[in-house]
Amino acid sequence: MRNRGPRARLLLAAVAALPVGCDRDGDPDPSPPAAAVSLPSEPLTFTRHIAPIIFENCSSCHRPGEAGPFDLLTYEDVRKRASQIVMVTSDRFMPPWIPVPGYGSLAGERRLTETQIALLEHWVEQGAAEGDPADLPPRPQWPQGWQLGEPDLIVSMPEPFSLAPGDEDVFRNFVIPIPVEERRYVRAMEFRSDNPKVIHHADMRIDRTRGSRERDERDPEPGFEGMDAAGSAQFPDGTLLGWTPGKVASQGPEDLTWRLEKDSDLVLGLHLLPSGKPETVSATIGLFFTDEPPTRYPYSLRLGSMTIDIPAGERDYVIEDSYVLPVDVEVVGIYPHAHYLGHTMRGTATLPDGTTRPLIRIDDWDFNWQDQYWYTEPVFLPKGTTVSMRYSYDNSADNVRNPTHPPRRVIFGGRSSDEMGDLWLQVVPRTARDLEILKADFERKEVNVRIAGLLMKLESDPDDFESHHDLALMYLRLGDAANAVTHFEHAVRIEPGFGGGYYNLGLVRAAQQRHAEAITYFMKALEATPDLADAHNAWGNALIAQGRLDAAAAHYRQALQIDGQFALAHFNLGAIADARGNTDEAIACFRRAATLGPDSARIQSTLGRLLLEQGDVVDALPFLERAVYLRPDAIDDHVRLAQALISNGQADRAVPSLREAVRLAPDSVRLLNDLAWILATHPDDTVRDATQAVTLAERAARMTGRRDASVLDTLAAAYAGAGRFTEAVGTAQSAQQLAPHDPDLAAHLQAYLDGTPYLDASLTRRSD
């Protein structure tokens, strides 16, 4: 045993060192290099030369219980398919990996080197000998069961799906309720199936509406049909979730967690491949939680077209799309998607200086091997970068993957006979503020793309109430209330039982200050959908606008009867209590709201402010910190946070917030003074910055015409800190003239006369 491992490793190292001239990082030339491979002169054997290649690249899928249709673990397994293996590896059908290398460094790349392919080929040519069993490297050990450990929550398909032996692929979406009682943060997700051999790929989305359940109920069999489940199901917090054979669970960046809300459904889309005999398939998803709310939020940018319309016989139909990034981002993942007619795909980033960075390239798209890819390292793209995509489609009869013979016109849509063209980029902006900028900016682009697509859809099906509703929402996002109202009205006229339509009409009217009219719509919404908690909440808001606090409180309570976890309804009850001076009750409501709504800056900030006003500094701190994080442009939050930190003896930690506040309000003497004082007098050397303190304090002194004693006191302290004692003494004397009875000023002056700077010990002490 001692001999085997090291010898095998040695061999692998030797092979890797061969001058193969392929797989060069960043090589933009996709053409395979001339096969300048040099092979060992000794006879090739399975145990010495072939097993390491097979174990490393094939066996993780080709083993019992995994997706590969047969095992590749032993000499016998491999020998019985030896020339087949040469054939599928040399044409790169296996291992399956469709992106062209050198166009984006993608994690988990499954690709053999030219040397490895040549070794396989020559081994077969030489007779596929087994070799000395002592040469056999140890077989890799794969974890049994869950790859990521025991999940915190396991959910399964409600019942197994029976897959008939027919010869058509099956696309089925299963709606799996996720039983969490409160919001959880998901750090990882793992997909497992009892029958992975019939699953070509899976994609997973989260639906916070009842949309997918309703589609499921309309379909008599388990789940519902369709290639793209999307609709109301979304990638949560922009996180791409998918599974393909061979994919290790959760390869995404570790700190990117996503929010799982109560009453969410997991929508599992399975692409199933009949095996020739009757099969049953069920799937289980393990969820791994963390208590930490995310500190970075990703966002999914979708480039592409929703107006695809490919004439029959068209060989080279092209769609293109691009977007200019309004903020710096890191691209962490990419997901190209088209159906059977997709042929070539390019994703490219053009930086502001004109240089280009390839994001992905696929020269022969194969729907069956679609995947969601992570980059080995996040790709940094500065503000001003243009991300672009270009896909081509072949709708000719010569395209063997064309599902229709003879070809017919194909338009955009989610069925397998329709086409799609999406390039999803999972990006992470630097800050929450950048995320908001990106969201707002990208939505404008996305909205126009969607409006075009929905208008095309309504042309062929004018009575599709969901499309009218979606279209209205899109117009609303563009600020076009008139068009929005028209289409909401269409939607409720076609489907009078659609409470969401009335609710949205009410919101439009409320935003126009037409509160009475809004209330009639909220009533209609609740008639149609009695458990629509949002309608009660919005009704309450309309009543507040009319000054009717008691009636409003009753509606917030009704909202909470329907959904006790409704953060905003708790918050609104708190706001009423606060307005009435019932501070304790207000704080209790706000606390509940803050727990349920950790991403609402308004809730966090309001609670922090109220606690601070009550002198509850320590309690206030986490909420103020969260508010600043969520809403970094709100100067009041920064000031309150700084104030809380200083009175908690943490003046050092107040510096960043004060700096940010000074940046946002450069004319505030008080802020300049506070920041300069800390920088001049903090007892900790690493916090002090006397030079900067002088600059800031001089500015404050100029702004006050040197007439403010405390500003001059600060300026004197700054001079002293910088060793400029003459100026310190003069300035302190001026301060003393303005406030002759202040004992502190006298003490400070004495220190400067003695040639020592003044250090303010109170900055590191809690003031109670």
Binding site: F70, R81, V86, M87, F93, E121, V124, D167, S275, G276
Partner: protein, 199 residues
């Protein structure tokens, strides 16, 4: 890229068979040469003599070839259509490692309505020139092989699969054999698992 035929003797064989087989049927089995296969009890049988049917179809298969397995419903469709018209079907398993018991289980799992035979020495593989599972060999009323090749054109390569086939080569061949007319393409290239790996 590497030139595969140089490396794979089996493809050379296929090429040779195609060259001589096109247009005339002289390479096909002589009426007198029996097909020597083993039934699942280990007895030697000649399926042509055994069935006495007007047309006999051999389908080369293995229990662990995903492509031949995916064809099971189509093979059964053909069986259901032609069995009443005096056409006999046999699955032929060329893998010497696949035991009669494993084959029985396979026939049952895929619900085959007809039997399987073994060709551990590849006698019939060589006689017919079959190289792939699944691949069909069709024998006409005179006992000569009139067709050898794919079931249909659904698979273009292992990785490229049509949503639906555009040709039905085996069905056409059986029909022609029943009617006693010549077949346009007496040999076609099958896509699947390589039989030569099973030596």
């Amino acid at each position: 890229m590497f030139a595969l035929p140089r490396l794979l003797p089996v493809l050379t064989l296929l090429l040779a068979a195609t060259l001589t087989g096109c247009g005339d049927q002289s390479d096909a089995r002589q009426a007198s040469a029996p097909l020597r296969l083993l039934d699942l009890e280990g007895r030697e049988v000649d399926p042509l003599a055994e069935s006495g049917a007007r047309v006999t179809v051999l389908l080369f298969a293995r229990t662990d070839c995903p492509i031949s397995n995916r064809y099971a419903p189509e093979i059964q469709r053909l069986y259901a259509a032609f069995a009443p018209r005096d056409v006999a079907f046999f699955l032929v398993y060329p893998d010497p490692g696949q035991t009669p018991q494993a084959i029985r289980k396979h026939l049952e799992a895929y619900d085959y309505a007809f039997g399987g035979l073994r060709d551990p020495q590849h006698a019939v593989v060589e006689l017919t020139g079959a190289t792939i599972t699944p691949e069909a060999a069709v024998f006409g009323p005179s006992g000569t092989m009139v067709y050898r090749g794919r079931i249909d054109d659904r698979y273009v390569t292992l990785g490229k699969v049509r949503a639906a086939p555009t040709t039905h080569d085996l069905e056409d061949a059986i029909e022609a054999a029943l009617e006693g007319r010549p077949i346009d393409n007496p040999t076609t290239k099958a896509i699947g698992c390589i039989i030569a790996d099973l030596k």
